[in-house]
Amino acid sequence: MDTQSDARPVLEGPDIARVLTRIAHEIVERAKGADDVVLLGIPTRGVFLARRLAAKLEQITERKVPVGSLDITMYRDDLRMHPPRALARTEIPGDGIDGRLVVLVDDVLFSGRTIRAALDALNDIGRPRAVQLAVLVDRGHRELPIRADYVGKNLPTSLRETVKVQLAEEDGRDTVLLGAKPATQGAQP
């Protein structure tokens, strides 16, 4: 965080709550009631967002919405460019994903490579009826033909900027920070 001391917030706690409520309503609308929806968050912060979305969906539909997590580390296309990363938890809800509408949830959509890896990982777990993508922030700069179905906020950025999502569960507060990239680092998804 030292390098991002000049970062400015673009979304604050109440904004994030409103955005998630809107996305939840959009999911119900597009999925015509959301009875076969399974939410899968991508660790770390996607999982917290997925749980919050599930809570909101349950309020709207008054039905339990299965929520889980999908770790994509082993499916990354840049595995050989870094030391191996510690793995996160993959937790698929009991009824599986076969024939369901899977909504992947992540915090920031950037190059699209994480989502590609997630699609590969899903392939090894089951065959959903359809896969959709919900993200809190879409910052552009796609490197693959991937788009989000539900976007919290479109945030046009330059490659010299960083977008950092902080959530209460992990960081103690809800905010999205836009900052300048430290000069030494290369582009990272």
Partner: protein
């Protein structure tokens, strides 16, 4: 920085916990319909076995295949080794074929170290048991089994075995499993006691980071896990104890002895078991005995080790034992 796994003593506490945590996630792959990950696609791993082994070789092979590595199996029997080829020439042949990792089991203590440090090959070397020296993946899978049973599957994540009392019983002299376990369990904060007849304890055992006892019964009552070792007849060239019957009466685990262990305590065995010698069928078949579980966990641990050594551009396991051990 090293990128080999030669000895359990090379692992720091953080390395060991990282391997155990990674194995916990790898274990979940076994519950999926497609038990395969693409992580080591295009990497070639050779299983170089100069000594007989069933479970270790199959376990490594299963782990390598689940991570999508290309696997080449090499057993000394029926290979050019039986024609007199040296380890160096075998290694250079493998190097010429372009392998990324060598899993080696050898009857001579130090063979994996020689292979890793000689400059003969560029590949990562994983020790799958050398002579009476080390068997690090066995120690890791034992520690993994203990952490799951004694601390808990999810509760154990990120934790070590601080304060757990582990008793290792039997043929310590010939056992690389005992050596590796003493090193690793000590690193993880456990208190290890070795129990064996004096003839089956190695010279210098008093310098190991563990207690030594000749009396099984007094140790059993304060153990969280009891690990029985096989009496390795194939490595014995002298009389180490009078009769088998006397050995199993003093150092074998039967139902009566097991009943005196604390209720939560588990019985472990690295296999293969000799029923009636160090362990009775009653104990081996009880649900406190984790032998089968250890085999399952072995695949997860070996997947974790392979991933952490080969999965990236450099190994995640540091081997630089710079921090003071606990």
């Amino acid at each position: 920085m090293q990128r080999h796994l030669i000895s359990a003593a090379d692992l720091t506490r953080d390395d060991a916990v990282l391997i155990l945590d990674t194995a916990e996630e790898m274990a979940r792959v076994a519950d999926r319909p497609i038990k395969k990950l693409p992580t080591l696609r295009g990497r070639t791993v050779v299983n170089l076995f100069f000594e007989d082994s069933t479970r270790t070789r199959i376990s490594f092979e299963a782990a390598e295949k689940r991570l999508s590595a290309d696997v080449i199996n090499f057993t000394a029997k029926g290979s050019s080794v039986s024609k007199g080829e040296s380890l160096k020439d075998t290694a250079q042949t493998l190097e010429a074929m372009g392998v990324d990792a060598v899993v080696i089991r050898h009857g001579a203590s130090g063979a994996p170290y020689r292979l890793a440090t000689s400059g003969w090959i560029d590949a990562a070397v994983i020790n799958a048991g050398d002579g009476t020296h080390q068997h690090p993946t066995q120690a890791l899978l034992d520690a993994f089994t203990m952490r799951r049973r004694l601390v808990g599957r999810d509760a154990g994540l990120g934790r070590d075995l601080d304060g757990r009392r582990i008793t290792i019983v039997g043929d310590v002299l010939h056992s690389r499993v005992a050596r590796s376990n003493v090193d690793l369990l000590h690193t993880l904060g456990a208190e290890v006691t070795l129990v064996a007849p004096p003839t089956l304890l190695p010279v210098g055992v008093e310098t190991w980071p563990c207690e030594v006892s000749y009396d099984l019964d007094s140790t059993l009552t304060k153990s969280d896990a009891v690990m029985m070792l096989r009496v390795q007849r194939e490595r014995m060239n002298a009389a180490f104890f009078p009769t088998e019957r006397e050995y199993s009466r003093r150092y074998g685990l039967d139902g009566d002895r097991m009943a005196r262990m604390p209720e939560h305590a588990i019985v472990m065995h690295p296999g293969p078991m000799v029923r009636g010698m160090e362990i009775t069928a009653e104990v081996a078949d009880s649900d406190r005995c984790t032998v089968v579980e250890q085999v399952t966990n072995g695949v997860s641990i070996r997947m974790a080790v392979l991933y952490l050594l080969l999965g990236g551009n450099e190994p995640a396991v540091t081997h630089a034992r710079t921090t003071e051990e606990k």
